[in-house]
Amino acid sequence: MSEHGHHHRHNAPLSDTALRVKALESLLIEKALVDPAALDAIVESYESKIGPRNGARVVAKAWTDPAYRSRLLTDATAAIAELGYGGLQGEDMVVVENTPSIHNLVVCTLCSCYPLPVLGLPPVWYKSAPYRARAVRDPRGVLREFGLELAEDVEVRVWDSTAELRYLVLPERPAESAGMDEEALATLVSRDAMIGVARVTVPAGAKR
């Protein structure tokens, strides 16, 4: 079935939506309002260049360079730009730091605002109604759903992103990561940890 399924997909008629997009694209190309090569480049950049590896590098640098951490917490946009990330939908960044007593969680209740230059495009769940509705009302319940149980005495701060202002969580560096260098640390930092729905952990056998 899977072999046939794969073969079939390329020959199947386009869905109504796919056809409509194709129609719109051909119309806009004809009017010289868009350049097909530029469209390809945009898709390619989100598929392979702009993603959470960027944010992970920011976090790892903050963990290993106290002066950088301090700059990141006072002027995140400039500190992130030091690593070469910035631009569209990352123009005004705020980094919020998790500590043993404070846990930060990021949401966009109104739509899907997200720090694109450091995390790429948001996952479907971040844009979904259940997350947007509940993250502000029952953040502990949401975190529990993600498998993150917080102690009662940990304060939860929820940050509702806007079209201009976007947040990145600086997660806590795990104690077991002592001795790891910046590059190795960056491999530990997940997208979810930078949204605030996960902790950073050191998998058994990670390179020290």
């Binding site: 119309l27 868009v34 530029a38 109104l110 790429g120 996952p123 479907v124 947007r132 009302r137």
Partner: protein
């Protein structure tokens, strides 16, 4: 504006569904919609506020039913027509042409 998009605090949407190893785009057309939106936005005929307001004007029953990039497509068409970059009936005509000419 108070509308369906203002979801913070609402009840009843159920559990958060997550997908392991989620692809950046689930269908090729989603990437095209994003790219078209960015490329058309570069003409400066609308700003991010107008763009967001565009989606917020979607009828609530559609807003709840449509996927994320379906909403983007709906908004892009609306913004292009409002900016006189395309005419209202041009897309329908091109869709019909593509359907007829499809191999």
């Amino acid at each position: 504006m108070n509308g369906i998009h203002d979801m913070g605090g609402m009840d009843g949407f159920g559990p958060i569904e997550r997908e392991a190893d989620e692809p950046v785009f689930h269908e090729a057309w989603e990437g095209r919609v994003l790219a078209l939106t960015r490329a058309c936005g570069a003409w400066g005929k609308w700003n991010i506020d107008k763009s967001r307001f565009g989606i917020e004007q979607m009828p609530p029953e559609d807003y709840l039913r449509r996927s994320y990039y379906e909403k983007w497509l709906w908004r892009l068409e609306k913004l292009l027509v409002e900016a006189d970059m395309i005419a209202g009936d041009e897309i329908e005509r091109r869709v019909a042409e593509l359907k007829q000419g499809a191999p």
